[in-house]
């Protein structure tokens, strides 16, 4: 199953949950996640199943104005 993680295509074995996607990119805390422009709380990572073509954003804190 192909999904986009931070705009890069990844092929995940089905079925896949959000935790699998985060492992695929070796996401390291601190980070937060949205799928298809919807925030996903940390507590829901394991239970959130992915669909083909999901767009996953893994974001981190950076400097800003």
């Amino acid at each position: 199953m192909k999904v986009l993680i931070n705009d890069i295509e990844h092929d995940l074995a089905e079925p896949a949950c959000l935790t699998d996607a985060l492992a695929a990119v070796e996401a390291t805390p601190p980070f937060a996640v949205a799928i298809n422009r919807e925030f996903v709380p940390r507590s829901q990572y394991a239970g959130r199943m992915l669909q083909a073509d999901d767009r996953i954003e893994v974001i981190r804190p950076v400097t800003g104005g």
Binding site: E26, A32, E38, V58, I59, V62, T63, G64
Partner: protein, 274 residues
């Protein structure tokens, strides 16, 4: 006098019921180095520090995953004000704000919804709805907006307990380009007003504080100064001076000269030139 309180200790900035000793909010971007940023923050002693969110690139040890900034925020112990910089739609704003809330463990959000990439002007037609959604979701929203009176009033109407009009486009350092509208805004709205963006000099900050603005949010003017640490201190002093002047109440400008030294008893009065 514009306030009955004469002691600066009694003059805290109050946002959403929370008291802040400083009226300067400082950005964390564009400094020459993390060490300089940290020193500037320690000099300015700001009420809040802004931060943002960007994509995590790859795994541990790769550029973009350095936690130095995160660690520094923890050490500085200054409240963090995450922003939604770069968002162009309400849905993006809401998702970004929710991610920021979890990441920084704070209800504060600086609402940025850009309508024009060239000027970074806020999308004034979507801003109110975005603010309303965030407030309904429990956020303490500080909206970056233009100095338009009706826009700011509508933001207050949907629950914003403070608004942050720009003085000029972000990063320009031009200072207030529309003093008339900014002063009118101060006259018409009673909520805290913080100038966000466009200030370049401490005198700009002092000016808006003399007009009765409640605080300023700065970044580039400090970060791109030749000596950011010294400039951070200069801005902090300017904000405090402007606030003190506002509270003291300025004299009314006069049309003609009026001697400050008493005229009565002037030596050689009526002696003429002979």
């Amino acid at each position: 006098m514009n306030s009955t309180a004469s002691n600066p200790q009694d003059d805290a900035l109050v946002l959403y019921g929370q008291h802040f000793d400083s009226r300067l909010l400082l950005g964390t971007a564009r400094y020459p180095s993390p060490d300089v940023m940290e020193a500037a923050v320690r000099r300015a002693r700001p009420a809040m520090l802004t931060a943002s969110l960007r994509r995590q690139t790859a795994g541990p040890g790769t550029p973009g995953t350095d936690n130095g900034f995160w660690d520094m925020l923890g050490q500085l112990k200054v409240p963090v004000l995450p922003n939604t910089a770069g968002c162009h739609s309400i849905d993006e704003v809401v998702a970004t704000a929710q991610m920021a809330r979890e990441l920084f463990d704070t209800p504060w959000i600086k609402l940025e919804l850009i309508g024009d990439d060239y000027t970074l002007q806020p999308d004034t037609l979507q801003l109110v709805q975005a603010a309303e959604r965030l407030i309904r979701d429990g956020f303490q929203v500080l909206p970056y907006c233009t100095e338009d009176l009706v826009l700011c009033q509508r933001l207050v109407d949907v629950g914003c307990q403070a608004v942050m009009p720009w003085a000029a486009p972000i990063g320009t350092g031009r200072g207030p380009v529309n003093p008339y509208a900014m002063r009118l805004l101060r006259e018409r709205l009673s909520v805290p007003l913080l100038v966000d963006a466009g200030l370049g000099l401490p005198s700009h900050a002092c000016q808006v504080m003399e007009w009765g603005y409640d605080g300023v949010l700065l970044n580039t003017a400090v970060a791109l100064a030749q000596d950011p640490v010294a400039m951070a201190g200069a801005f902090a002093d300017a904000v405090a001076a402007g606030r003190a002047a506002w509270r003291a109440g300025a004299m009314a400008p006069q049309e003609s000269a009026q001697p400050s030294t008493p005229v009565l008893g002037t030596p050689f009065w009526h002696h003429g030139n002979d």
